[in-house]
């Protein structure tokens, strides 16, 4: 079973077209194993990327070195999944 401990979802905001191009490049870096939830389209639309724990340092360094703004949308994906599973179990017990 795959888990997502320590994986984060970053919401990244490009301030201009050149930063948008940098995000395009980032999303195509296969070795980082990124999962692009919402890809780069225009500067008005944020980009959401699930970043595996092992790639967090590289991705954040890449963004910070290029002055690209981001926030952490989901701090620990596995924690949210665990919460979802707990809710499902509770709902299932209530139904029983």
């Amino acid at each position: 079973k795959d888990t997502f401990e320590g994986d984060q979802v970053l919401r990244i905001t490009a301030k201009d077209e050149s930063q948008l191009a940098l995000l395009h490049d980032l999303s195509e870096m296969e070795m980082l194993h990124l999962d692009v939830w919402r890809g780069p389209t225009d500067v008005a639309t944020p980009v959401d990327i699930r970043v595996p724990f092992h790639s967090l340092k590289s991705v954040k360094a890449y963004l910070e070195a290029r002055d690209v703004q981001y926030t952490i949308m989901i701090e620990d994906l596995q924690a949210v999944l665990d919460e979802e599973q707990t809710q499902m179990r509770m709902a299932s017990r209530a139904a029983e």
């Binding site: 692009v36 959401d48 139904a95």
Partner: protein
């Protein structure tokens, strides 16, 4: 649950629970609902389509599918609610009744059943199909990049490990090919709505090219009306437009293929939310999502019924 009234629409369900739900709905409404198995997934699960029909042969029809990206759980949950809504409202809601008196509705609730099973047992974030890729340890194809519309172009990947892997050839995935065959053999589909989540958008073709469709004006106006009606319920904000202009370039997508087949009213939704949860949308959001989406769906279906072509 012993019947579809007792089914808990406000929670997420396993694939077997959804299969049971479909069978119950058919058993309870034999004059209106039937189940068609249009094919099998790679792992042998049935690809079930609910047909809502009041009679006639090969009537003009509306297609709705949910859950082609398996991790987008609010879509399968909304599809289940839609199915019940159709049987509840037929005969009482004049608009839906008029639609069903002239047209059929086809609804595929679990479009990617192998992926859905996998999200519930192995990897909650799984998006693709589960067919192995020869020569790679990575599994699966993005079924929304596998259609024969700009196949393999920008906005899709040739790397089997990518989330947007197009597959070795167009329609290589049985989950896609089964719909292709069904739509072609039916030959009278007038609207095709493929439902995804998240990011709150209503989109029309194209995704693989920036060339506008010849129906862009009408599709845009209808999207605007549908979004207005959706927003009227809870104030949920939606954006709308062509895929390439509104979200990003994506080649090999579902509705680009359906539009090129001559299905004018081809749309794709991105349901709630805007980013707080992504695909982990809490269960208490299911009913509001399904209810607001239904208002937009009705707008598209009503327009389709009123504008035969």
């Amino acid at each position: 649950p012993r019947n579809t009234d007792a089914f808990d629409y406000s929670n997420y369900h396993t694939i077997n629970e959804i299969y049971s739900f479909q069978d119950m709905l058919v058993a309870e409404n034999p004059q209106l609902v039937s189940k068609i198995v249009i094919g099998q997934s790679y792992q042998g699960r049935p690809l079930n389509v609910l047909k809502f029909s009041t009679g006639g042969t090969n009537r003009p029809a509306i297609w709705i599918d949910t859950g082609i990206h398996s991790r987008e759980w609010v879509t399968q949950a909304s599809g289940t609610w839609f199915a019940k809504k159709i049987v509840t409202d037929y005969g009482s809601d004049p608009t839906l009744t008029a639609i069903l008196n002239r047209m059929d509705i086809f609804l595929e609730i679990v479009t990617n059943p192998d992926g859905f099973y996998y999200t519930q047992n192995n990897n909650r974030m799984w998006r693709k199909t589960r067919q192995p890729n020869s020569g790679s340890s990575c599994v699966g194809v993005d079924p929304n990049r596998n259609w024969d519309a700009g196949f393999g172009g920008p906005g899709s990947s040739k790397n089997p490990c990518s989330e947007t892997y197009s597959g070795r050839s167009a329609h290589s995935e049985s989950e896609v090919k089964s719909i292709v065959d069904f739509v072609k053999s039916h030959g009278n589909m007038k609207a095709f709505v493929s439902i995804h989540a998240y990011s709150q958008m209503l989109l029309y073709p194209y995704g693989y090219t920036s060339t506008p469709t010849k129906d862009q004006k009408e599709l845009h106006a209808l999207a605007s009306k549908a979004v207005k009606n959706l927003t009227s319920l809870y104030g949920t904000r939606y954006r709308y437009g062509s895929i390439i202009n509104t979200i990003y370039q994506a080649s090999g997508g579902t509705i680009d293929w359906t539009y090129n087949q001559g299905i004018k009213y081809s749309y794709t939704f991105e349901l709630r939310d805007t980013g707080r949860y992504g695909f982990i949308l809490p269960a208490n959001q299911i009913l509001p999502t399904a209810k607001e989406t239904w208002l937009a769906m009705m707008t598209i279906m009503e327009h389709t019924n009123a504008n035969t072509y």
